[in-house]
């Protein structure tokens, strides 16, 4: 099953390498990884998407907790949560296709954030599925895509704080 694990780590050099190195060393897979400092600059938050059996996910969270730089973590998929990923996608937009792409962007509630006579850059936010769906649906040549990796947060009053 797919799991989204949110990890608060010490914002120190090497913390990310410890987390990613652990996955490689223990043969777990990482589907996506997003990391940035939190409102407290001494802490970073890593959001990591992985897949595995329940036993494997249990080992993954235990092994992560064992890392000295890991302050706290939560498996967001254990509870109700919101998942978002941001994508910027550069599309070829010429002639009639320009109208068509704009329509698609509106349907997906995206925004065009850069325009030239032959291209659009579209910004799109949503779950990974939604971004995949847009890529599949858009009917013009894709010049480039960049995705932030999945981030997530628990619904309601639950919060990952130390």
């Amino acid at each position: 099953m797919r799991h989204i694990i949110s990890i608060i780590v010490e914002n120190e050099s090497g913390a990310l390498a410890r987390v990613s190195g652990l996955f490689f060393a223990r043969a777990y897979n990482i589907e996506s990884l997003a990391v940035a400092p939190t409102e407290d600059p001494s802490l970073s938050r890593i959001t990591l998407v992985t897949r595995g059996s329940d036993d494997m996910i249990e080992q993954i969270t235990k092994q992560l907790n064992k890392l000295i730089d890991v302050v706290k973590l939560v498996d967001l998929t254990e509870g109700s949560h919101i998942e978002r990923e941001m994508m910027m996608i550069k599309l070829q937009a010429i002639g009639d296709a320009r109208e068509e792409v704009m329509r698609m962007v509106n349907i997906f509630r995206g925004r065009i954030i850069d325009v030239t006579s032959t291209t659009y850059v579209v910004e799109l936010t949503g779950s990974g599925d939604k971004l995949d769906a847009f890529i599949k649906t858009v009917d013009v040549p894709i010049l480039e895509t960049v995705r932030s990796g999945v981030t997530g947060i628990a619904r309601g009053e639950k919060a990952l704080v130390i």
């Binding site: 050099s13 090497g14 080992q59 000295i68």
Partner: protein, 573 residues
Amino acid sequence: MKLSGGEILIQFLEDEGVEYLFGYPGGAVLHIYDALYQQEAVKHILVRHEQGATHAADGYARSTGKPGVVLVTSGPGATNAVTGIATAHLDSIPMVIITGQVATPYIGSDAFQEVDSVGITRPCTKHNFLVERVEDLAITLKKAFYVACTGRPGPVVVDVPKDITAPEIKIDYEYPKSVTMRSYNPVIKGHPKQASKAVDLILSAKRPVIYSGGGVVLSEASEELIEFTKMLGFPITNTLMGLGSFPGTDPQFLGMLGMHGTYEANMAMHQSDVLIAIGARFDDRVTGDVEKFCPQAKIIHIDIDPSSISKNVKVDIPIVGDVRAVLRELIGQLKKSESLSDKDALSNWWNQIKEWQKEDCLHYDKKSALIKPQFVLEKLLEITQGEAHVTSDVGQHQMFVAQFYKFNKPRRWINSGGLGTMGFGLPAAMGVQLANPGENVVCVTGEASIQMCIQELSTCMQYDLPIKIINLNNRYMGMVRQWQEFIYESRYSHSYMEALPDFVKLAESYNHIGIKIENPADVEPALREAFGKYKDRLVFLDFITDQSENVYPMIMTGQGHNEMYLSSAKGLA
């Protein structure tokens, strides 16, 4: 007090109570060595290879329970230390390894003797640090000792760039007495509710087995383990790492379990209905095929590391906590408990176990005209009265010690269990001998293993370390040969030790005593001479043993505890 980084480092070690520093100088640590030169509190042991430094510090740590401390230079100094660091990591041994690094402005420039030590050691340490400012040096060292020694112990590397230790820059130094880390709070006390569930299961057991490991040694819980086992009257088996934490000569002790464990221990595991795992981690050498592991048993698992729980084998009642604290809790609850264990069932169980013991699974040919390795170890046990500190390398000789030397005290059996590092024995014995001056320290080894760190004979000469080396010389990498015999139809691919040195002359060239023993009748006199007349000298005893001897019982890969080979003639048990 204003001190330079180099002086802070050495002063800190003194303040931390470090007795011995095992090391080897080089460019990046010269400032530190200069500070070391100007004091006497911290004694430096100069090894001949950085791997030797780490194993010696490791041996010291295993013997004393105190952290072993190492100082090596950058680049090759650090990479040579890696094998010893990984050895300590796999066996959860507290160590602090200080590695020199090129000066901060040169980091990342592929400077002379530069290597990414933090990167290289990340997967084989409990944690590691790069010191980026001299102001951080003392507190980082404190964190290193704290992390190394608490929770599930392990090695910690502190990488110190040369400019951090420069004599020109002096800052205020005060010994940091304690440190807290928000991201590191090891659990000590087990959950009392889990303990009470465990007590209920323990008291309901009809065919119980206690299976305990190195965690008992690490948490100094030997007394508690003995009390717990005695009050229940249950049979107990130890892992390779747990030997000595329960007296090897006690009638409740079934011997070691696992791949080369005793018939009775493995059969009891297989037939048990309640398994109490204490400070052990269900290693593959212990479990055999996990699918066939203890098929009827409900399992209680006590371990300080939550990630050890249900990692290899699913357990029913986990108790996360320090083994000693949890055992005390269990003993307390058992004393208060109104229900009693099933005495009749236990007596039937012991009768069954005694049947298995009649198999005499460790028998060997005592009439052989050749020296049998088992015979040497039986004589060693007799002459040292089971009181020696014994280190070993890795292979057949290691298993023979585990089977034949009955350890009655913890921290007497020093070997590389997890990583299985050949070359460990001699340098580890140096650390043990320094920690126990005047006591018998024995390194049991083979002619293959001993050559992996034989340069340390020179260190032993420098510091007058009267280690007794028992070289079980069968002219083969014995365990490799054994596997090749069983699995590869006796195609002995590169397991034959050709071009061996004359070990007697080699020992003598380092001003040690060398004795070559070729007949069974000469085994005992040679040992008596080594521990008597030559008590204060290093003695290299080169026993020319039977080349064809194998270690039995043996569980082959993919087999269960009830599927042992008891000898080559006698197939599956």
